[in-house]
């Protein structure tokens, strides 16, 4: 009888404490409301970049392909669209194309086809990136590359 009474009291106290702990967890969960850290000035602050569902593919020139001295760059963009305006009101499916050849930015594209500048014979690498409408990258970055040969 005594043992049972003791167990009952302890169980009662444990139940109340467990309920309080559960309340605490409930109160403290799901309230972070996204990343709302105040913007810091002159000090680094994490500011999330938008993500994009887009997939960018280089259709031509393909990896290892041998092409002429002014090859045409053809791209495929799935899940995103190229917009003309530049704005800080960025969206995940809208942006521009930044075009790099051999490690140098050479152009910004508003289309999916473009003639590359004249390239000397030999190995070259083209890197294209779908960037947000403010010209800064998405997170994660949407970029792809192809290494090709320009014929003698």
């Amino acid at each position: 009888m005594t043992q049972r009474l003791r167990r009952t009291r302890r169980a009662r106290a444990a139940a109340v404490l467990a309920a309080a702990l559960a309340l605490t967890v409930a109160a403290c969960s799901g309230e972070d409301g996204g990343s709302e850290a105040p913007a810091a000035t002159t000090a680094p602050a994490a500011a999330a970049r938008p993500s994009s569902p887009a997939k960018l593919t280089i259709m031509s020139p393909r990896n290892g392909q041998t092409v002429g001295e002014r090859p045409e760059l053809r791209l495929d963009l799935d899940g995103g669209k190229i917009v003309n305006q530049t704005t800080t009101r960025v969206q995940g499916d809208e942006g521009h194309i930044h075009l790099h050849v051999d490690g140098k930015l050479i152009d910004m594209n508003y289309g999916l086809r473009q003639r590359l500048p004249q390239l000397p014979p030999g190995q070259h690498v083209v890197v294209v990136e779908f960037v947000a409408a403010d010209h800064a990258p998405f997170d994660p970055r949407i970029l792809t590359q192809a290494a090709f040969q320009v014929a003698e």
Partner: protein, 758 residues
């Protein structure tokens, strides 16, 4: 389970349910202005379509407002200010078609996170310079000083909750469920303090927010206050259940049968001849059956009649209430006799849980709830802090009550048990307190330069004195008492001093919780460029002894106010001029033509004017033209215009280039970044945006890269858009700075950022 027990369980579940509803919603610190668009003091070429203010916390829609006033005091905003979609820290209001002129932005914001109110004003100009008195950086706004009523309300709430948490902790861990003498009125007073404090806090917050009750309750701030009120009411109910049981024999509250037997077994031998209360042994259990005046079992749970006479009729005992007499229905077996005055465990636990959850609700409407990636952690740590402080400070009051028992051994035993408990709680107070201080104070600067930091310093100093008194109890007074070498009066005096100090700490905390955290003040100071000093130059025409003392404010590129004092060089008297004008020519910039500004005579005899003739940084030749009764006089002067400091927002995300957003004095922003930002080939991007966030077309641009230390190198810019430029650069490890400047008509835009290349 009997019906009565079911009822008790139902009561607990019901209260827990009420708290679950109360707690299950989000609640944060002061919403200070971090930036504005248009920038304070900006002179815009085109009228903006809206005003966007960015705060350090989420503004509460419905309770916050932005007004834009013209020079006549008329409101020119359109509609209600509202949060910007996708940017909860931004608050914006639309504007109509604004004519050229000066406009004042007046804002008042209630933080959605903690209900604190901030307000501020600034001015900007369209087609004209903003008033020279306007600071260049967005004013952060001011928080109303903590009101006396709000401070008293918080103090009452803290004191009440601390007393109740302390009651629960000491009731269970120090006094073995037997309330000390006079517990009932103290419990009821604590409940009353809690209720009054909660109600007064609600009223004080409503007065500060200054909104109709319906509007307030519809806001998350009002709902947070409502949840706190529910918690306060539930705590009062829980306290009533405990207070009504005080003085009632334990057996009455346990109708299920006789009290349990003592399981603790015999007491261990006393090896040192010290007070048996101090002999190590198992902690007291709720089932101890010692029958003593104080009703407290000794540490072994054994019978202490050999040390303390079991005079249950002693009026000075812990239960003067006649109801405290032994239960006549109890078993006659002494071993199974109930302890006099013991109160059911669940009643103590209920009060502790109620006060603890109400503390959590209070914490959820305070600084710990401010926007942070670690918000949940901050809330939990702050809650642990207030719980620990409550257990310690409230416990001190109950210890003082316990020391009123006349039986010295029991007093010493209680003091020893509390002292050990306090040591553990104190560690928790210190760890959580330091953690919260590191998060909120803003470093040494925040501790010294902000009101929050100074109050925190006082709080820490009082805390250290309190710790010293506690240590004195633990290591000096209690051992002396145990050996019989000291009287109890010293211990009582010391504990009374601790209680007074604790009350002072609560009062400081009541003020502290209403002040903006020091870290925000430090951030604001860092964000605010130093007030631009005026530039003063002088020149004289010795042929006529005309002297001009010219003051240019702020003396940076863009809008400036000019004040010329034209005097006679010899006598110092005002020169009788009929017209004064200034002609500006930049040195070494032949592509920028000369410009003039006519000044008007002011009441104090000086000549004043405003204009944006000083459009770029560098050396300027300024010629003062003075016309009077005689021939016109020209006074040459040289002026050095320094680049204005620019607020730069740095955004770092792993795997991404670091973004630099530079607020431009001419309005809008410049976004720059270096990709990839490591040694080797990189691309640097510059994009100009107007105040609405769209690309700002610019004229010809020039950009430089400066490897530090070193001289600037011109960059070959590629124009990728009307306001978007890029350049390819090769970088080595070290610090490098990039700068760009453009000229569009008479408007100069440019900015600079630095990055460390690894």
């Amino acid at each position: 389970m009997t019906g009565r027990r079911l009822g008790r369980v139902g009561l607990v579940v019901g209260l827990v349910g009420v708290w679950a509803v109360a707690v299950g919603a989000p609640a944060g610190a002061h919403a200070l202005l971090s930036e504005s668009d248009p920038a304070a003091g900006a002179s815009l070429e085109q009228a903006p379509r809206r005003v966007v203010l960015t705060f350090t916390e989420r503004p509460e829609p419905g309770l916050s407002s932005i007004q834009v006033l013209d020079t006549g005091g008329g409101q020119v905003q359109r509609g209600q200010a509202a949060p910007v979609e996708g940017a909860p820290l931004q608050f914006a209001v639309g504007l109509g078609d604004l004519a050229d002129g000066t406009y004042t932005v007046s804002w008042r914001v209630v933080s959605k996170d903690d209900g604190h109110v901030t307000a501020g004003t600034f001015a900007f100009g369209i087609g004209v310079p903003a008033p020279a008195a306007t600071p260049q950086a967005a004013p952060q706004g001011e928080t109303p000083s903590p009101s006396a009523s709000a401070t008293v309300a918080r103090l009452a709430l803290y004191a009440g909750l601390a007393l109740l948490v302390g009651a629960a902790v000491t009731g269970l861990a120090v006094f073995a469920r037997v309330p000390p003498p006079g517990a009932r009125p103290v419990l009821l007073a604590a409940a009353a303090l809690t209720v009054l404090g909660g109600a007064a806090r609600f009223l004080a917050e409503r007065a500060r927010i200054d909104a109709p009750l319906g509007t307030l309750l519809a806001s998350s701030t009002g709902q947070g206050l409502l949840r706190l009120s529910i918690g306060v009411a539930a705590t009062a109910v829980a306290t009533w259940f405990l207070a009504t049981a005080v003085g009632r024999p334990a057996a009455q509250s346990h109708p299920a049968g006789p009290a349990p037997a003592n399981p603790a077994g015999p007491a261990p031998a006393n090896p040192a001849g010290m007070d048996p209360a101090l002999v190590p042994g198992p902690a007291p259990t709720a089932e101890s059956t010692t029958l003593t005046v104080g009703g407290h079992p000794d540490r072994e749970g054994s019978h202490r009649a050999d040390r303390v006479a079991p005079d249950i009729h002693n009026p000075s005992g812990p239960s003067p209430d006649p109801a405290a007499s032994p239960d006549p229905t109890a078993s006659p077996d002494p071993a199974a006799a109930p302890r006099v005055g013991a109160v059911d465990t669940w009643r103590w636990v209920l009060v502790g849980v109620a006060a603890g959850v109400t503390m959590l609700l209070h914490v959820m409407a305070g600084h710990a709830a401010g926007p942070s990636p670690l918000r949940s952690v901050n809330l939990f740590v702050q809650w642990l802090h207030v719980l620990a402080v409550g257990a310690w400070i409230g416990g001190l009051v109950w210890l003082l009550a316990g020391l009123r028992v006349r039986e010295r051994p029991e007093q010493v035993a209680s003091a020893v048990r509390f002292s050990k408990l306090a040591a553990a709680v104190l560690g928790l107070v210190a760890v959580t307190g330091v953690s919260r201080a590191l998060h909120l104070a803003g470093g040494w600067q925040g501790l010294l330069d902000s009101s929050y930091g100074r109050f925190l310093d006082v709080k820490v100093a009082l805390f250290l004195v309190l710790v010293t008194l506690g240590a004195l109890n633990r290591f000096r007074i209690l051992p002396a008492l145990a050996s019989g070498a000291r009287r109890l009066a010293g211990l009582r005096r010391n504990v009374r001093g601790e209680v007074v100090l604790a009350a002072c700490i609560l009062a400081v905390t009541a003020v502290l919780s209403q002040l903006p955290p020091g870290k925000f003040v430090v951030q604001q100071a860092a964000a605010r460029p130093p007030a631009p000093p005026s530039v003063q130059v002088e020149g004289s025409d010795f042929a006529t002894s005309v002297r001009i003392a010219l003051t240019v404010s702020p003396g940076t590129p863009g809008p400036n106010s000019f004040t010329a004092k034209v005097t006679d060089y010899d006598s110092g008297q005002d020169w009788p001029a009929s017209r004064v004008a200034l002609r500006f020519t930049p040195r070494g910039r032949p592509e920028i033509g000369a410009s003039s500004l006519d000044l008007t005579r002011a009441g104090d005899g000086s000549w004043r004017g405003q204009g944006s003739q000083l459009s770029i940084a560098g050396s300027w030749a300024v010629v003062g033209l003075v016309e009077g009764s005689g021939p016109a006089v020209t006074v040459p002067m040289e002026l050095e215009v320094r680049a204005a400091p620019q607020p730069v927002k740095v955004s770092e995300v792993p795997g991404q280039p670091t973004l630099y957003t530079i607020t431009l004095a001419a309005g809008g922003t410049l976004q720059g970044y270096l990709d990839p930002g490591q040694g080797g080939p990189n691309t640097v991007h510059f994009t100009f945006f107007n105040p609405s966030g769209d690309e700002q077309p610019t004229g010809r641009a020039r950009a430089t890269m400066t490897r530090q230390p070193g001289a600037p190198e011109a960059l070959t810019l590629i124009r990728l858009g009307p306001g978007h430029f890029a350049a390819n650069v090769d970088l080595e490890p070290g610090r490098v700075a990039f700068a760009i400047e453009t000229t569009t008509g008479q408007t100069q835009r440019g900015g600079r950022f630095e990055q460390l290349i690894e």
